[in-house]
Amino acid sequence: MPNREPDEILMLRVAQGDHAACGQLAERHLERILAFASRTLGNRAAAEDVAQEVITRVWTHAKRWRPGPARLTSWLHRIALNLCLDHLARQRRESLHEGLEPADPIRDTARRVRERDLQDRVRAGLRSLPDMQRAAITLCYYQGFRNVEAAEILGVSVDALESLLARARRTLRGRWRAVAPELLDE
């Protein structure tokens, strides 16, 4: 069956218990959700869990969804963001309970510069960002959301979104210049 029905129609079908419609929604949105979760969490296995949980919640909560000004993909990313934030918070609690000190991102990044390639430097910088800044960068720069959509997913105003983005980029520039100045020389 051609997968051309709008998301809203597929959601109505899912709400009526249509497995095939849920499969079509997964086919349409899963990879993008997985990419978002991967970049936000920096952990592939956890990202797959998040993506799977997002689709599961589509199935179980479809009857509660109503078409509105926000696209379905925005709603899906909002769910994914909440799951990612919960995962990150849980990780921090568990690491504290285990008596582990949080890693010093500056020291670790400086140590890795000698041994790893440029992609690891970039990933490390992104991982070191506060959760909301990382999510803002991921939504706007990598996932391609417009500012209004990204702000809605994050639950902030557009002004606040721009502040998150600017701070994130400033932080990244500072970290990367400290370890790889040749790449950011003006």
Partner: protein
């Protein structure tokens, strides 16, 4: 360095200013495709006229080049096949850690939802299930799961186990609770 208030979107109501253009570059980067669509044309016009703006654009472009070095995460064909197979009535893949993690926490009545996906048969009429019993709302941030336009004034679903073939006990839950902000008593496993 923080963006002064005048560089915010309120300044964008009028003509594009250098301050606003620099704020766009600082937030969204050098690529105009990421700038707000309603400001893009004016920003590009000013960019063509301002050496300062072009210098800032070049700085932003170097940072963008760093961000671009991280490739897109690999696809997950197994995961997609697992969900696609739901539509054809086949069971999910075996190594579903997520199912192992959440299944023990779900009351048996809620597990009938999961059983549909393994049965391959026509789905039964959707049961009335308490959202909290599904384990969906366990964190304060779950309140954000409520999508725009949802009818919150409608009757809250309740958990109905009385006729369940699983024989689960009726939980003692307040009606209408949809948030993890309040403690939820779960029925014993």
């Amino acid at each position: 360095m923080s963006n002064p208030p005048s560089a915010g979107r309120s300044a964008a109501q009028g003509a594009m200013t250098l301050e606003r253009l620099l704020a766009l570059l600082d937030a969204y980067g050098a690529g105009p495709e990421r700038w707000p669509s309603d400001e893009r044309e004016a920003a590009l016009a000013l960019l063509a006229e301002s050496p300062d703006a072009r210098a800032r654009r070049d700085v932003a472009a170097r940072l963008d080049a760093m961000l671009d070095r991280v490739p897109a995460p690999p696809q997950a064909p197994d995961l997609l096949r697992a969900f696609a197979s739901v539509g054809r009535g086949h069971p999910r893949r075996g190594n579903t850690r997520r199912w192992r993690m959440i299944a023990p926490a779900l009351p048996l009545a809620a597990a009938t939802v999961l059983a549909w996906q393994f049965s391959g048969g026509p789905p039964p009429a959707p049961p009335s299930l308490s959202i909290t019993e599904l384990g969906a709302y366990t964190m304060p941030t779950d309140v954000l799961l409520i999508p725009p336009g949802v009818d919150l004034s409608g009757p809250a679903p309740t958990l109905g186990c009385a006729e369940s073939i699983w024989g689960c006990p009726l939980p003692d839950l307040p009606v209408g609770r949809q948030s993890g902000a309040h403690p939820v008593r779960r029925s014993p496993a």
